[in-house]
């Protein structure tokens, strides 16, 4: 995607949402909302042990809290994720459990509790078909659960390999390949070798152009052939794979480093997300949100990535999570240690 010089993208602040009583760790958009007249919905989770569900009013376009999911987790809720069908919400907590919620009869009910991690669960992610749920935590393990009929979840595999706290897990958007990133500075990629036999097929280490400090988050582009990772080492890195090879049954295609963007952040980058129209948003410890995009620079090496916008003091404190909305509305949600969530509109 390209932009013209002078037509710098702008992030307009739409609304600041208050309600949580502690830092907001993460937000997750309900993927089936935001188009065909269905108002946008997202969930946020917090150190106040609750999850809030927010909805945009179709007429006024303002956001309100529709529901507070409480009295279930006994400690911070660190991460939340909607299932691809939009009917279930998974939450990961420092109380070492993950919960699955369903909207039943006008109310959100906790329909399953997944136990197994030895301590704080840091992240939760659904695969593209919604059949698998992955969790990870401070006990250095990654768990894969299968979603079965009757709100049953069965543990498929407990994956060990990371040497430290695992910060995030994310399934690939098109394939059942799992990615995890950790305090051990690596990104690990896990695939199944038939019949519940999951193992690590690749580790992106410092030696292979990987990060030199904690990797906090990762995200994929819409096509699924590129991935961006962000780290405590103040850089974001782009990786790519031959996704056609993998989808056509050619077996696992390794991920290779494309480029490193350094010098743009001077504090830890906690969150990164890639929009469907090619904007990479980052949220960092300097309270700022930055946007990166590819722009043709006239050189033979084709498009290159550069920072196209920087919103200083987007929040009063660390920005923990940035997430682009589904659909075409170009809305960005950000969550912060300051206890608020902000909605932004991208215009360029």
């Amino acid at each position: 995607m390209e932009f013209h010089d002078g037509a710098e993208p702008k992030l307009w602040e739409l609304q600041t949402l208050e309600g949580h009583n502690d830092r907001v760790w993460s937000v997750s958009w309900n993927p089936v909302t935001g188009s065909s007249g269905v108002p946008l919905v997202f969930a946020s989770c917090s150190g106040d042990k609750t999850v809030r569900v927010w909805e945009q009013d179709g007429a006024t376009l303002s956001w309100t809290c529709k529901e507070v999911l409480e009295e279930t987790h006994t400690r911070t809720v660190r991460s939340c994720a909607w299932s691809p069908c939009g009917k279930m919400l998974a939450t990961a907590s420092f109380d070492a459990t993950s919960a699955v919620w369903k909207y039943v009869g006008g109310d959100y009910e906790c329909v399953a509790t997944l136990e197994g991690h030895e301590n704080e669960v840091k992240s939760v992610s659904w695969n593209a078909s919604g059949s698998l749920l992955a969790t990870c935590g401070r006990d250095k393990s990654v768990w894969i659960w299968e979603s079965l009929p009757g709100n049953e979840f069965e543990c498929v595999s407990v994956l060990q390999g990371h040497k430290q706290d695992v910060k995030m897990v994310r399934w690939h958007p098109n394939m059942d390949v799992l990615f995890s990133c950790s305090y051990d500075n690596t990104v690990k990629i896990w695939a199944e070798d038939g019949d519940d036999d999951w193992h690590c097929v690749q580790t992106l280490t410092e030696d292979n152009n990987g990060h030199s400090s904690t990797v906090w988050a990762l995200a994929f582009n819409a096509e699924g052939d590129k991935m961006v990772t962000c780290s405590d080492d103040l850089t974001i890195k782009i990786w790519e794979t031959d996704v056609k090879q993998m989808l056509s049954g050619g077996g696992y295609a390794p991920w290779n480093h494309v480029c490193t963007l350094s010098g743009y952040h001077d504090r830890t980058i906690f969150s990164v997300h890639w929009s469907s129209d090619g904007f990479i948003a980052t949220g960092a410890a300097d309270d700022a949100i930055r946007l990166f995009a590819e722009g043709s620079n006239g050189l033979d090496d084709g498009a290159s990535l550069k920072m196209v916008m920087r919103k200083d003091k987007a929040h009063e404190m660390d920005v923990n999570s940035v997430q682009w909305s589904p659909g075409e509305s170009r809305i960005l949600a950000s969550a912060s240690d300051d206890g608020t969530i902000k909605l932004w509109k991208l215009e360029n």
Partner: protein
């Protein structure tokens, strides 16, 4: 000149049988003491080392035995459940129970130096955690290795 039978010049015989140097013991004092100290330390160490090794072996053997026995007990109960009601556990859980059973049987109890031990133990631990997660139970005993949930600090990132 007459050569002696051995062909050695009489004068160099002194190199084969040097006269004792009266200053030797004084000059070699340090070396002698070092050797003596070493020998003392070695024989003392042999005794205390063996005792310490015995205690470490007992402790480690006990801990491993306890863990293996615990898994054996769990697997036996689960197998009984499967016999009584084959549909109670899913296929996946049953398969894992069987795999644990097999691992327990192959564990080289009488060969503590076997390189595979740590792999088998790790495999057992992972399968045990997966089964417990699937059937929704929390099983442990005091002293169960790897219990990292004891700390209750309220902060984490």
């Amino acid at each position: 000149m007459i050569m002696t039978l051995s062909g050695i010049h009489p004068r160099s015989m002194g190199d084969l049988f040097p006269e004792p140097d009266p200053f030797d013991p004084a000059l070699n004092l340090e070396e002698t003491h070092i050797k003596e100290g070493y020998n003392d330390g070695y024989s003392d160490g042999l005794v205390t080392g063996r005792e310490e090794g015995r205690l470490v072996g007992l402790k480690d053997g006990f801990e491993k035995g306890e863990e293996l026995g615990f898994y054996r007990g769990c697997v036996d109960v689960w197998n009984s459940v499967i016999r009584v009601d084959p549909s109670h556990f899913s296929t996946r859980v049953q398969k894992s129970v069987k795999a644990m059973d097999s691992l327990l049987q192959t564990y080289p109890v009488m060969d503590p130096e076997n390189e595979q031990i740590q792999d088998i133990l790790n495999d057992l631990r992972l399968k045990f955690r997966a089964i417990c997660g699937s059937i929704g139970v929390k099983l442990e005993y005091e002293g169960y290795p790897g219990g990292g949930g004891g700390d209750t600090k309220d902060f984490s990132f």
